[in-house]
Amino acid sequence: MEFTLITLLNGVSYGLLLFMLSSGLTLIFSMMGVLNFAHASFYMLGAYFAYAISIKIGFWPALVFAPLLVGLLGAMVERYGLRSVHKYGHIPELLFTFGLSYVIVELVQLIWGRSTVPYPIPASLDGPLFTLYTTTFPIYRGFMMLVALVMLVSIYLLLTRTRIGLVIQAALTHPDTVEALGHNVPRVFMLVFGGGCALAGLAGVVGGNAFVTEPGMASTLGSIIFVVVVVGGMGSLAGAFVASLLIGVLQTFAVALDYSFVTMFAKLGMAITANAPGYSLLSLTIAQVAPILPYLLLVLILIFRPRGLLGTREG
């Protein structure tokens, strides 16, 4: 029981971190059609900025300024880079961000070096939030979950209370016409890209000290957030939310389960020996296949429900 509950909590909080990361990506992808390969790099920048700021003036200011800084940077990337690529279509846009991810990780190393930087959890958030049976649940994880939820609500309000989403979607097909209707399209694009990056930055501020702040942190999270966005349904924020939780919980539980076909058959009274055909396949435990589960889910979803869980449009 203790184990199940704790694992569930762990899964949910991991899922919420995934959501923080993927919400910005979803935002940018759904609105601008840009698959931002550098998204995780902005997450990393968030962590590093927060580190740099927090050693000077503390964690709380960093929580505010680091995402703003990342957002500013994102807006500049859009303004001076992405915008001129936009006219060539989505593939060059994607490739632009792909190249950008290389550059960012190098610049980070240039400034902060190649090893882990000491970016600690602030003392006020360090410690157990509550104890479940004998396991403690850290305050910081609770804080992470809170931030994620606040993020969800504010993006939702932004999207439903403003026309920004509509403007951008329309501008994807007919930018000139949208402008002729009186909307400043380039500025909206810049804001959205900057905003998406700021969200990644915020995730970085929170995730950076929950885990480790190091130059490799971007690449390790990179592909999993794509899975989240696609499984949830491209462009669907709610979908990204559900998918994040699903994948978070799925992966967390899978790790914990040591069952394989061999043990299953053994329970049924059938013994499978090591020289049975396909033994290596049958003896794989769920814990061992945990890493492939998100991708398996992705492929299955794309085959059977290409729109994703809650997506509305295909492709």
């Binding site: 097909t173 000139d176 002729a180 209707l181 909307h183 400043n184």
Partner: protein, 236 residues
């Protein structure tokens, strides 16, 4: 009183010079038609006015120079534009399309002349289809939608590029009626048309364009009697 004055307008697509010094004007409360064969540059004139094509010369709107401004800035000054190839937003619903017609951050406090309801009354078909994705609507329905979408922005002058293209004859008549109605509500119209009959029927003045410049200016009656111009520039 002149609402829009275009002087010596030259426009380019990259390097190709399309307009060679266009001069024309639209007065408040007028319907003016811009006629001409295919490819002479009528759409380009309108696009250049809207800031979508590189152009030199002078374009005064309500007395202000608008050349060089961005399209959205021009729109905010009260100029409306209905493009020729419809350009509806296919992934949005009809209603969302209309919503986008409203300008962001309107400054004028007074109520816009048009509400969504007016649009639906004008074209009941749109009301029926208000929650449909605009992309799947029929060609004609899309045409109606673009017109309404621009009206939602509450322009003082509306430039319409071939609004009757692809519409059933009966609807064409209807559109003509609505254009007159716009005029009655105090909106000026610059109409780019292919269908001569309609243009001549509803406009106060007409311009005929040929090879990137204006070759005729006058009233419909004057054009009707001017065999030469019609033969040479309108290929009837």
């Amino acid at each position: 009183m002149s609402l829009l004055t275009i002087k010596n307008l030259n426009a380019y697509y990259g390097k190709s010079h399309v307009l060679h010094g266009v001069d024309m004007q639209v007065n408040a409360g007028e319907i003016v038609s811009l006629l001409g064969r295919n490819g002479v540059g009528r759409s380009t004139t309108v696009k250049a006015t809207m800031g979508q094509v590189d152009a030199t010369g002078s374009i005064l709107f309500k007395g202000e120079e608008i050349i060089g401004l961005k399209a959205f800035q021009i729109a905010h000054k009260g100029l409306g534009y209905v493009p020729e190839n419809r350009d509806i937003f296919p992934t949005l619903t009809v209603e969302q399309n209309l919503m986008l017609g409203q300008k962001s951050g309107r400054t004028t406090g007074d109520k816009p002349r048009w509400s969504m309801e007016d649009m639906y009354q004008m074209f009941p078909r749109l009301r029926e289809r208000r929650n449909t994705q605009a992309g799947v609507m029929s060609g004609g329905e899309q045409q109606m939608l673009t017109l309404c979408r621009t009206l939602m922005g509450d322009p003082d002058l509306i430039m319409i590029d071939e609004p009757t293209e692809g519409l059933a004859p009966k609807i064409v008549e209807l559109v003509a009626e609505y254009l007159k109605e716009l005029k009655n509500r105090g909106i000026s119209v610059l109409l780019v048309e292919q269908k001569l009959a309609i243009a001549l029927e509803i406009s106060q003045r007409v311009y005929v364009m040929g090879h990137g410049s204006i070759v005729f200016e006058g009233t419909p009656a004057e054009l009707r009697v001017n065999e030469n111009i019609r033969k040479e520039w309108l290929e009837v």
